[in-house]
């Protein structure tokens, strides 16, 4: 649906929602949360060390976005791109902080490799998490957007603020690095070429 606005021309639903978000309309923020939480969670999930950390950082993304909403210029920028940008920065800060003080050993103990009697799917997620963290930030991002969030090359290019060719190139290098990493962990579905 589109709405005629004599002052600003036609505004899309997304732009109207963004306008309300800038005004800190709680209902608008409720909608934004419902629309984007899963994507934000998926985006941060394998950059971090577990689902609990992802839950926390994904929640922080919305809190930071709300707090800084007066700075958001929604003209031409999808809300998702803005949230992904915040998520990227929060992950970066979080990883830096952990690097400085070391991971909490208690969490490490219980979120490390799952005990062998668990489903293979869990092992896969653990392997994947380790493999993802071995990639560069750009590579992690392109794989998260393309495969975990199921975004097209075009959408990924817009969210990463890059050309489509650059995304295709990055995607190839990222998949190759991921394949090497999974193969080095003897993951059965990723034999060396």
């Amino acid at each position: 649906m589109q709405v005629d606005d004599p002052a600003k021309g036609r505004l899309s639903d997304a732009e109207l929602l963004a306008q309300r978000a800038v005004r800190r309309d709680p209902d608008a923020w409720g909608e934004i949360f419902e629309q984007h939480y899963r994507a934000v969670f998926a985006f941060v999930r394998y950059r971090l060390r577990g689902a609990a950390e992802a839950e926390d950082i994904a929640s922080q993304v919305f809190e930071v976005a709300y707090s800084h909403s007066h700075r958001f210029d929604y003209r031409g920028v999808p809300i998702e791109a803005w949230l992904i940008g915040i998520a990227r920065n929060l992950c970066r800060d979080h990883i830096k902080k952990l690097g400085r003080r070391g991971y909490e050993e208690e969490l490490d103990e219980f979120s490390g490799p799952t005990e062998p009697d668990q489903a293979a799917a869990i092992d896969l997620r653990q392997d994947l998490g380790a493999a993802m963290r071995a990639l560069t930030e750009d590579q992690q991002e392109v794989l998260s957007l393309r495969f975990l969030l199921d975004r097209s090359v075009e959408e990924t290019a817009r969210l990463m603020n890059r050309s489509e060719d650059a995304v295709k190139n990055l995607q190839r290098r990222a998949l190759a690095a991921m394949q090497r990493s999974l193969a080095s962990q003897n993951y059965p579905g990723a034999s060396p070429p």
Binding site: F41, F110, P113, R172, Q179, A190
Partner: protein, 409 residues
């Protein structure tokens, strides 16, 4: 084969799910390997969305609390009192009274200073400093004196039995009532039971707050004495429990029947036994006994008999006082940071371990290093103290891992 051509072939192969027919033999081999990695990612993507959906209720509740806090903060503040000019302040009608009051206050401070020279544990601030050590896990109880919203958190001043304690209640804090239900807000005058971690500034980052339905008078605060030498037949009621971050030291505050309050350093095993006997140690009646090494200033405590079941858990009696959420049983499985505990009634509880969860591994034979290296915790008895997350899962604040479960024991 150029990089651009291969990038294009890969993009098309991913979009179509099949290798384009014009790809050469060599390109096909490379594409197949990359598609395999892509398939692994896609397979995980579906599971990640399930995880995200499972995380949503708690995250939504957190965000709603955040929005409510922000809106509260945005309400217009009370207008500031008009500031008087210099002459106005000097000639204020109450000025003489204020000056006289100030002089009396200075005199009182001097007198108190002289008398307090020896008894440094008397002041409530000092008492707080003596028992609230940074990074400790503590259980404490008191009556709410004041509540100050601070952005997404709330500062709650609690009048406890030994000092005024400042609590930081965040959106992550589990606030429950006596029956374990969620409570939306905390009010002045309510009795709270708090479990949390001591911050460097001696505020307590509340992990779980249990609110009592019954209104109670604010407790009297009195001088604390550190128990250095064993006193036969010393009994008392626990008013604070503190356990260090690595679980190597612990102490309790007890109030003896004559009203004297003692700081008692106890063995870690004692803290473990108390936490296994009940998730809520505050209010337990204990008898102080001499430690393993006489005169080392560390003591053991025994609680009035709590029968232990075969699983190593106590048989708990219903109680009307506020209590933390407790789960006691045997670890059946672990998936990442979630452990599955089967209790004596064969009910399975999902317990979430967070970065703030404290572990006491004493009787388990496990060490932090051995668990990190892959030693299994499955089959060990466990006693969990914590609260409920918004999605109903138990969030562990402190965990006592016991011996391997043996039905014959």
């Amino acid at each position: 084969m150029t990089a651009d051509r291969f990038d294009d072939l890969l993009a098309r192969a991913l979009a179509a799910g099949a290798i384009p027919p014009e790809a050469t033999e060599d390109e096909r081999a490379r594409l197949a390997s990359l598609l395999q990695a892509g398939a692994v990612l896609e397979q995980t993507g579906a599971r990640t969305h399930l995880e995200a959906s499972a995380a949503m209720p708690a995250a939504r509740a957190r965000f709603e609390r955040f929005l409510a806090g922000e809106q509260q903060r945005a309400l217009p503040a009370a207008p500031p009192r008009p500031r008087r000019g210099f002459l106005g302040r000097i000639l204020h009608p109450n000025r003489g009274l204020l000056l006289a009051g100030g002089a009396v206050a200075v005199g009182l401070i001097a007198i108190v200073g002289v008398f307090a020279g020896e008894s440094l544990v008397t002041g409530t601030d000092t008492a707080s400093a003596q028992v609230l050590m940074p990074n400790d896990y503590v259980q404490v109880q008191g009556v709410v004196k004041s509540i100050t919203p601070q952005g997404s958190t709330t500062l709650v001043e609690l009048q406890s039995e030994f000092a005024d304690v400042k609590l930081v209640v965040s959106p992550d804090t589990s606030v429950v009532n006596g029956s374990g239900g969620q409570v939306s807000d905390i009010k002045a005058g309510e009795m709270l039971l708090v479990g949390g971690l001591v911050n460097p500034d001696q505020t307590v980052a509340a992990q779980t707050v249990a609110v009592s339905a019954q209104k109670q008078a604010a407790p009297q605060q009195s001088r604390l004495q550190a128990l250095k030498k064993f006193m036969p037949n010393l009994q008392g009621r626990v008013i604070l429990l503190a356990v260090s971050k690595d679980g190597s030291t612990a102490r309790v505050l007890i109030q003896a029947p004559n009203g004297t309050r003692y700081i008692v350093n106890v063995y870690p095993r004692t803290a473990e036994r108390l936490l296994t006997a009940s998730s809520t140690v505050i209010g337990a009646n204990v008898l102080v006994s001499e430690g393993e090494v006489p005169n080392d200033g560390i003591f053991a405590l025994s609680e009035s008999a709590t029968p232990a079941a075969a699983s190593g858990c106590p048989v708990t009696a219903a109680t009307s006082r506020p209590a933390f959420v407790g789960v006691c049983g045997v670890i059946a499985a672990r998936m990442g940071n979630v452990i599955f505990v089967i209790d004596a009634n064969r009910i399975t509880h999902r317990v979430v371990i967070t970065a703030q969860t404290r572990f006491l591994l004493g009787e388990s034979g496990l060490t932090r290093a051995s668990v990190r290296e892959g030693k299994s915790v499955v089959g060990h008895t466990i006693a969990v103290t914590g609260g409920y997350g918004a999605d109903g899962r138990v969030i562990a604040n402190v965990v006592v891992v016991g011996k391997l479960f043996s039905p014959a024991r």
